[in-house]
Symmetry: C2
Subunit: 228 residues, 2 copies
């Protein structure tokens, strides 16, 4: 399939019912993947499509503050895995009893199984001192980078590529491993690979760690706390 | 169109070429919209679909830290518009010469034109003291909320609904307007409405404010700064 030209807009701009359903399908079937990775490599053109999807997120002041570091070397993944073990040891110690047992049973990363690790960063100095729209809320550059990550995640799902976000890592240590300079912030360390299956439900929901909240409880009308 | 059940996964999990193209279409044709809003109301069921899309983003430790305040009252929008004017006056003063002239000519919000304003927040205390995966990087709850916003943005595009993110607002003042309690952080104030058209290019690119960066410059191999 050819990637549609990013700049082309259909005449009426409307999505057909089938197109709309496909967008919802990607949204509802996207998973945070830690297992079921298979070893098939991701072709360069597929990776490029996924990264181009990320790059087409909106960004504050059109800052495009992101970079993507594609890691394939086993030695680098091994170093990152060691960082995970260190951070996860500390995290696990916060739980007691049954919750601690369950925590230790959960698979929380797929760093060495997934063929590609992708570090997504935010260069906080890109675009100079005055980035349009960023003077009031400084962290909007980080927010933009997260929007890019969600684009990437959905494009990957459509390509059959699973993505897992590994948040249990000391980012300062990770920056040393990847040679990331001072003004650049790590936003995410992602594991990418084709998978044998996507789970029908989020892993933490299936494991009974936490339930999905009813949407109605999260929506207010006019003011905080007003449900009707 | 019926919303696909969030939990259903097709047998083989694969997207057809057409489904994949629809996902990319939403990603490439999504715009940060400040004009072309029309007054047609957004039906409740469409708004619910868009919010459900947001709610199905992944979140750190399945925390689902977001809330959505749907604002329709003109008096509230007027109060927020006043906050925008105040913040934007300060922001505009940072530019000199041609850039200042261009800045003042840009339309940076559609608060009163769009039928719905949506404030997206992050409750930093949801899920208790120890949220799985959040102990190392505390802001992952904010990052999750941004992922939810991108889901919302893409679902809205598929529905023909334009979304504009207004970042030039003092969030503490906004919290007072909407009665948002202390431990809850405002992440975004969005304007939603059907539009007469989606621009083929981002507004700031069209206005010559800033150009799109070549993707190749943003992708590194194995380590920061290595392009090959």
């Amino acid at each position: 399939m050819a990637v549609p030209k990013p700049t082309r807009v259909r005449s009426n701009g409307k999505f057909s019912d089938k197109e709309r359903a496909a967008v919802y399908r990607a949204i509802f079937e996207r998973r945070d993947v830690r297992e079921h990775f298979v070893s098939d490599p991701i072709p360069d053109e597929v990776l490029e499509k996924i990264l181009r999807a990320a790059h087409h997120a909106g960004s504050v002041g059109f800052m495009q503050p992101w970079n993507f570091i594609v890691v394939r070397e086993p030695s680098t993944k091994r170093a990152v895995k060691a960082l995970f073990h260190k951070a996860n040891g500390k995290a696990a110690a916060k739980y007691k009893g049954e919750k601690a047992t369950l925590y230790r049973r959960l698979k929380l990363e797929g760093i060495e199984e997934a063929p590609i690790s992708l570090c997504v960063t935010c260069n906080r100095q890109r675009g100079g001192r005055h980035v349009l729209g960023r003077s009031t809320v400084r962290d909007t550059d980080l927010y933009s980078t997260c929007c890019a990550i969600q684009n990437l995640w959905l494009a990957a799902r459509a390509e059959g590529v699973g993505v897992g976000w590994v948040s249990i890592l000391d980012h300062e240590a990770l920056k040393r491993v990847l040679g990331i300079p001072r003004p650049v912030k790590v936003v995410a360390y992602l594991c990418l690979g084709y998978v044998s299956e996507f789970s029908p439900h989020p892993d933490l929901e299936r494991a009974g760690w936490r339930a999905r909240l009813p949407l109605e409880q999260l929506v207010y009308r006019e003011r905080w706390g007003r449900n009707k």
